[in-house]
Amino acid sequence: MRTGLVLLNRIGGLWLLLGLAAVLVLPWYKVPPPDMGGGPSLFGTALTEALIGRWWLLPPILAALAFAAVRILAGERWQAHRLVPWIAGITAVLYLAQAFGIGLRGPAIGGISLLFPMAEAGQPGLGPGGFVFGIALTGIIAEALAVRGFCRGERFAANAVVFIVVLLSLFVFFPILRLGSAALFSPDGIFQPGLFITRLTAPDLWGLNCLIGDGRCGVVINTLMLGILSGIFSTALGLALALIVARTGFRFKGALRAVSILPIITPPFVVGVAIIVLFGRTGVVTGWLDFLFDVPRTRWVYGLPGILLAQVLAFAPITFLVLLGTVEAINPTLEEASKTLGGKPLATFRTVTWPLLRPGIAAAFLLAFIESLADFGNPIVLGGGYDVLSIRIFFAVVGARYDLGNASVLAIILLTLTLSAFWLQTRWLGKKSYVTVTGKSDAGLFAPLPGPIKTAAYLAMIPWVLFTLGVYAIVVIGGFVSDIARFDLVPTFRHLSTAFSFEIGATGLELYGSAWDSLRTTLLVSAIAAPLTTAVGILTAYLISRQDFAGKGAFEFGTMLSFAIPGTVVGVSYVAAFNVPPVDITGTMAILVICFMFRNMPVGMRAGIAALSQIDRSMEEASQTMGASGLSTLRTVVLPLIRPAIFTSMVYAFVTAMTAVSAVIFLVSARHNMATAYIMGRVENGEYPLAIAYSAVLMIIMIVSIVIIQLLIGRRQLGRRSELQNTPPAIPAE
């Protein structure tokens, strides 16, 4: 393998070969372009397409040949030649200009067809040749930068930085820009900038009728109200749980921590469905209340109360983890100091503990707020008439009245709200956290919780525990009894067999169940996405914490930005960006994988940065001085030492890919359906037991997969390094 690489280098590098292949051998387009009388081109390569009249494909061909010529004339370090940056830069501009300038139905700007008559017929999306040329050009630019001292001349690092920047631009920024421009077009595709204002100020967005009269509020107000309430309740509950775990003699702390992991592996809709099964008009609890106390059956659970209930249940574990960190970080000697100065327990809590907790509480609130804004699964199941932004966006794209422009405006509002909260959160965490943990060992003991606060905390916890038990009991048994919603508890495998029946016949395994396709796609996509997501995330972490390069600050900001974009917005933006050439990939499995990669990559990145910060940088420098390239150093030194972070990232990426819904719901197709989309369909049809059964199967698969990943990656115990595993999971907005 090594000699192969050396040989490749000798003949000019992988990128040069790929570039030549892209223009001379591979078909440039995804599908053959329309015939304009020039006759079909042989093989459809860029060269043959150009020769029959698509002259705008000439720059890539000429560039590939020019690079080859420079290689022949200038020798092995040909990228150092002074012509290379010029050729590469001009080609990049012309390559992008032709891709975006000439669309499927013709040129975007009138003048182009004067220059190239063939452009009138338009061109389809990029195919193998087009993409490979882009990759090769990117690689050549990276190498040209590396020989000029970028990334301290480390070729691998330079390539990694340039490729990640290009990928982020293509799959994070470009879709958002497309989304922004879509907001300026009417549904018929006519450019109408004024429409943006009309859409933005629509009365059904900002109405305040629910506060003053009986009417309904606008969707933005609804979303904000839900977010604020959800934030307050989740934070209060999370604080109660954190105080109980950290400051009382509560005996089931381990169980509480374990329960806090559950929402991460709980498929969406399940909690919503369970709430309907419990509290819906025909629900179990509703029925008993009616039977015992003559409480009339109502539909109260549909709307704000139901969504709120489901969200608090889902987000309290997250706020709990954040606040537990804060509570445990308080230096006990501060409280002891207050006591020695005469402070009573309640006064100490009020004057010392509480102010120290405030930054953590703010952070937890904002986190829950962001999650609530981005939530899609609960509102769609429990919304009733209560409209929120994520739902409105979904129906603007998927519903009967397809209106991408309107969806874009709604998405921009949602994005603005989320990013503002995200910005506030980073500001708050950055400036106001009073970290009182020092290297010194403080021998102080945590003060027990003052009586009234302890009572309040337990009062908050008990209903939550009952509720969680109720919900998960339904998840466990609901799929395996006749009809849980009507309290018909006869055990049955009927639902399971509807979804997963199979037969082993003469022709081998035959899968009949209706869920097999989506399960197969989900597993395949998750299995492909998890390692790729981890690779991108860990690589980015490595670049951020270990490499110095121009523009690193912007690079870091860009990766964090992809973390803050709500899934619904990502979904719409992908529809806006990738439904049309040049990058025409909707309906493929690739778009699902790509979507997961860039949404979940920041978790791997954070885990990686945390792990890398514990590893002495001189080990990598030692490896380099001994002749290891950046790539070998990464492989032989860095990766073995940060296995726990890789594990965290793999598990997170896999599990999230299996349970995500908000972004993929826009991207699934009949051929590539995902489990969550399938479950959503069942929920919409009221087939709750089937949905629950499928969810239970998914949860079992996830648990088994986590065990398998752990066995594959293994856990390296190098003394204290095993602690890295406890890096708190950072959860992006769903």
């Binding site: 030692a622 380099q624 073995p640 030492l641």
Partner: protein, 341 residues
Amino acid sequence: MTEKAIEFADVVKRYGTVTAVDRISFSIERGELVTFLGPSGCGKTTSLRLIAGLELPSEGVVRIAGEDVSTRAASERNVGMVFQSYALFPHMSVIENVAYGPTIRGGDKKAAADRGYEILAMLGLEGLGKRLPSELSGGQQQRVAVARAIVQQPDVLLFDEPLSNVDAKLRRRVRQEIRDLQRRFNLTAVYVTHDQEEALAVSDRIVVMNQGRIAQIGTPAELYNQPNSRFVADFIGDANLIEGHVEGGRFKAGDLTLAVDGSPDRPKATVSVRPERIVFDGGAVRAKVRDATYLGSRYEYSLETSFGSLLASAPIVSTPLSPGTEVGITVPPDGFTLLKN
């Protein structure tokens, strides 16, 4: 071959607005051990890293064995480096650490391991090949780090403050080991330290650095006896810096007159006098003992003179001078240096 082992030509290294290395030029001969010495932040470590290729110069040219390596990454140079923290890979055994370089460069694994064992044996580490670095003592770890750095016969061996993790008592021995090793293999070595005693003890030549520039280059004796600046005089050993003026080939300060033949007249001048060069011989310069300190191997006197206070040291005698005593002292003609600025 006459080319230098290492050559810096007008090398500048900037980080943003901070200039860590400010246009330095020097060269190192083959088989020489050169030390970069200076206070923290003087650019000595950056200079070392520029040789290693862990930093690339913002301006100027770095040559190793006559070849311009200015834009070449560390992995494309042939250097060996011993890190301050040793940087042994904790997940690899000792032999895997030592054979890492030859293996990663694509060599035969077996040959690499054989070569590794050979080096380990030469450094007195027989039988430790299979252990993990965490199972070795600090001194052994350091020798493994050295073994790992020299196994590929590098053009230059770099040491980044190698003694800072060794406890004070062992330092003398370890630095002697390093010196012996460098001589035995006839290695070109560059050594970074902030400890002037260490630098004087191990070096063929010392490059004294200050604020990103070279203050002076010379052999230990040259630097000690003929410092060219206040900084060097002060940084290496103890020095009395006496302010005065030069007139007619004489340096004058109070009742002190020293012959500085050939020096032009200067209204302000400074001479540096080492404490041990001051002779208590009842000479013409008047001094009054303010304080006497017993240091075991010698006495140190703090003196009051007409040109300010003076530090002098003298061998142990049974009856030291007591505070308040008036004495006459002499600064011998070869016991001082007139500083350039």
